[in-house]
Symmetry: C2
DNA sequence: TCTATTTAAGACTTATTTGTCTTTAATATA
DNA sequence: TATATTAAAGACAAATAAGTCTTAAATAGA
């Protein structure tokens, strides 16, 4: 699996927040996010804490509280979410798991993998939350098993 | 992590066997492989059973027994080892983990991911054990934390 | 036939990831 | 000030991955 479940859920939640942007709301309660995306509330809470710790989200306690993206969705790249939760091992480590594998001390697959993992990195590095949120709205794409982004925004 | 530990160890063992090819030996004992690569013998045994079940290796019990590649290294592609151990989820599943994500019922990242995962698939699909084994010997590359392919072949 | 060597099979343990639940702290509003 | 609502923190449980150990079955060679 490329990304951990925690990372996948964090990405979905971030995309949900990006889609909710411009809805004239400061903070969205985590419960609303977890219900909308059909994720465990407590598990999602822990994941979102990682994103707030990384400075990608802000949280506020109490009534009218919740979470919010700390920057406009256009300025948040997917790779920030990936590294905040899964770290950068995917983009730095040897595909055969050998410690210190690199140009000088390589495994036989190093060159090909270095090229491929850069393609993965570029995918996450060049894609913003805004890009996916607007594409998702425009093309009516999914963010959960059943519901599209428009469905989700309407339902809250 | 792209590949499971089991898959990584299975790949290293397969590359070791490819490097040992043409050494005038039918079967190489698993103990020799695990000692050479500094892997757990019992764990590696279970992994190799998956490769023999998949028809990639053959095994023989008793004295002079061990394992052997069932085809010449030139005819075994890395993807066969990956799919035998980790399955094909990496090449078929949604990066956001949504069931049934595809062209018709897509997530916002589907198009980019479909392209990137194909690059990963091509990497494994177009690389044979022979290619890596000969490259490893030629360039003195590593197959364990400390030892290169030549080291390993000489030491047995 | 007996013994040593080797893989096969599977029970078992440990570590990590995933998920649940309870309590605490902050805060808006009545 | 009292209450309801919300995130934070952390204990706990379940599921999965990773790794260990023992016994059984096959086989070569003495």
């Amino acid at each position: 699996m490329l990304l951990s479940k925690a990372c996948i859920y964090g990405m979905r939640a971030s995309l949900f927040m990006a889609a909710m942007h411009k809805q004239n709301r400061q903070f969205v309660p985590i419960r609303e996010v977890s219900d909308s995306l059909d994720l465990s509330f407590h598990f999602l809470t822990k994941i979102l804490q990682q994103l707030t710790a990384a400075g990608l989200m802000e949280s506020y306690k109490g009534p009218k509280g919740g979470i919010a993206l700390s920057r406009p969705p256009k300025e948040i790249m997917l790779i920030e979410i990936v590294t905040a939760i899964d770290g950068d091992a995917l983009f730095t480590e040897c595909v055969l798991g050998l410690p210190g594998c690199g140009h000088k001390k390589a495994c036989p697959l190093h060159d090909k993998w270095a090229y491929t993992r850069e393609a993965i990195q570029i995918m996450f590095n060049s894609t913003s939350l805004e890009e996916l949120a607007s594409k998702g709205k425009r093309m009516n794409l999914r963010l959960s098993d059943e519901l599209t982004m428009e469905d989700l925004i309407k339902s809250v």
